[in-house]
Subunit: 352 residues, 2 copies
DNA sequence: CGGAAATGTGGCATCGATACCACATCCGGC
DNA sequence: GCCGGATGTGGTATCGATGCCACATTTCCG
């Protein structure tokens, strides 16, 4: 057992049937050229006459040659595997993000090494070390700790932070336009006559929560409404906790609308409203940031802000690859993915 | 552009700051031993005195040494990366499966290379080739084509098929106990007095659909009911199609209960029932195979069969690792993961 | 107390592809 | 007709860790 419950570092096992695979040498012999030429003809950009190139490719095909990435990576000191570190694959947000990333990587010939860090700093750091060991040229991470991007960058690995930013980092980052999204959502409710709007939120230290809160405030300010701080209900990132927090909020304060800051909290909020047999939206309106599929299946369907999560994932991958290819100036990039208000049945005019 | 829309095969890019990382040599110098000893002390099972081992580990720690997996893999002719080929990460079933696999792999010190093949045979095959290039010791796949497991095995890669089986394969396989699960679900409805039960299903060629259909039939047989073949509605793997098929089924036949064979079809079925303003379960009961989160959020919550998808993923990984470690007899393993009936509000007594 | 066995460590070749340089060949120009 | 320069190909060292064997040292037993 390793210390602190860390994952064991696996030692490669001797495989039983060592199946001999053809090498560059074999292709060279088959095509009647040298190994160097084979390498150039198949992969390296550059010098190989079309004739030779075709002959080599045919030969490779014929004998079933498959490049050995390990050898290639070792010699060329890089790799086409990209690390992706996310918090929870079972949350549709992260699943969509990963799906977008994978799609873009795959279509560019890269592979995705996916690690679920469960939002645990130790796991995250451990994963970073593994990715260093793999000599990946880049990593996309929804960071838990600033140390993780830090360690990676210190070792020359390009990093793109996705969805959130911790303090001032030095890495590229792709974010949902949280402030605009939350502002539009809040404005939508205000336009419906709501003035006492509850906000269920789990954190405001990272750019994500902070942005959404800022948008919430900005919408109020625009309409010359003052935000009642008591209506901002802080909870933890957990549906059950969100439910209890919602209960407390409704018990103690009068609200005509409720916004939940993400899809997980929305589950808790909805559960509580249903439990109280509140008519949505007649008695109370409900809206959520981060549209996920179930939100359009419930009745009434939820008004949400769609983060275009898959597109966000694609952006992350595109940005990272551009960085790896050296196509970008050294300056750090901040990409904002627009968020889109989706009005459905769960929001309506304020009662009375 | 490459032919047939195939993904480009990326060529490693020259990274700009080549950051020199410490090697075994450096650790050896620091610890005052030979490189061989460092290797043994850090990784290889075996011979290194506790004193030396400690000294080497301290030295490695001090200078920030991280093993180069590429070098290690090349020399030892294997790797700790495992390929995972699934159809659609955005479907919670596959996401859960991947999450279970990743968890188990990570805790054993392996990495997951995840590829989304979109159920496309060409993508699947291309992915298999990439994994061969990476020299992965094993792959977990929800197969689209028998050729994919075939190619991998021919090249000495261990394969575990997850969730389904294509004809008679030679690989290990982990399945949900589809027949038992579907039978229990059907029995549940029959016990409630339903005799005209519709089944919405997309395929019966693979073990998955075939098993569920068999369970459906078995439950009828046990109760001496004959299955009305008209009530078995074949559709395609798509929510909208399922909705139309449901519409057609309800238009043409009298049913008092409806079972959908998976979570995607359930969306379509539910949408159609809601559209018709049918009271669930008073006028019609609805149940689904494959419990996913939204099914307990809708009202009434859906009665389902929970496949324990995460556990299924873990099983796949455990089985594959055992195979890789050579802990298993050559005989092919078939693991059935029990399915669990979850009764919720969407099923009730048959009307009249 | 001698020699055989056990124990632990170092040396060297090697995994497979590629970077880099040398050089053969062909070309045109003065 | 000779030489400088393209152009394309081959040769060789190398990436970094480990497998394997040799061998120094210690331990144990007759």
């Amino acid at each position: 057992m390793s210390p602190r419950g860390q994952a064991a570092r696996a030692v490669p096992q001797p495989t039983q049937p060592p199946v001999r695979r053809p090498t560059v040498q074999d292709v060279a012999r088959e095509a009647g050229v040298s190994p160097s030429t084979v390498s150039r003809a198949l992969h390296t950009r550059g010098y190989a006459s079309p004739a030779v190139r075709a002959r080599v490719q045919a030969a490779a095909e014929r004998i079933g040659y498959v490049t050995d990435h390990n050898a290639r990576n070792l010699r060329s000191r890089t790799s086409t595997s990209i690390g992706v570190l996310i918090s929870d694959l079972r949350n549709p947000f992260y699943a969509d993000l990963a799906a977008g990333i994978e799609q873009e990587l795959r279509s560019s010939g890269y592979q995705m090494v996916l690690v679920n860090d469960n939002g645990d700093p130790a796991e995250e750091l451990h994963a970073a070390e593994t990715l260093l060991a793999m000599r990946v040229p880049g990593v996309i991470v929804t960071p838990v700790t600033a140390k993780c991007p830090q360690v990676l960058q210190d070792n020359g690995v390009h990093v793109v932070c996705a969805d959130r930013e911790l303090g001032r980092s030095k890495s590229d980052v792709v974010l949902s336009d949280n402030e605009t999204g939350a502002r539009e959502l809040t404005e939508h409710l205000i336009a419906l006559g709501h003035t006492r709007i509850g906000l269920l939120i789990d954190e405001t230290k990272w750019s994500t929560g902070a942005g959404r809160l800022a948008g919430f405030r900005a919408a109020h300010a625009d309409s010359r409404l003052t935000v009642d701080e008591n209506l901002i209900a802080y909870t933890s990132f957990d549906a059950d906790a969100a439910r209890l927090t919602t209960r407390k909020l409704l018990n103690e304060h009068e609200v005509t609308a409720l916004i939940s800051a993400n899809n997980v909290l929305a589950q808790g909020a909805l559960a509580e409203l249903k439990d109280r047999r509140l008519k949505i939206p007649r008695q109370i309106s409900l809206a959520a940031y981060d549209d996920v599929p179930w939100m359009s299946l419930v009745q009434p369907a939820l008004t949400t802000v769609d983060q275009s999560t898959v597109e966000m994932g694609r952006s992350c991958a595109r940005l990272l690859l551009a960085r790896i290819r050296g196509e970008l100036t050294p300056k750090r990039r901040v990409v904002k993915v627009p968020a889109r208000l989706v009005v459905r049945g769960s929001t309506g005019p304020a009662p009375r």
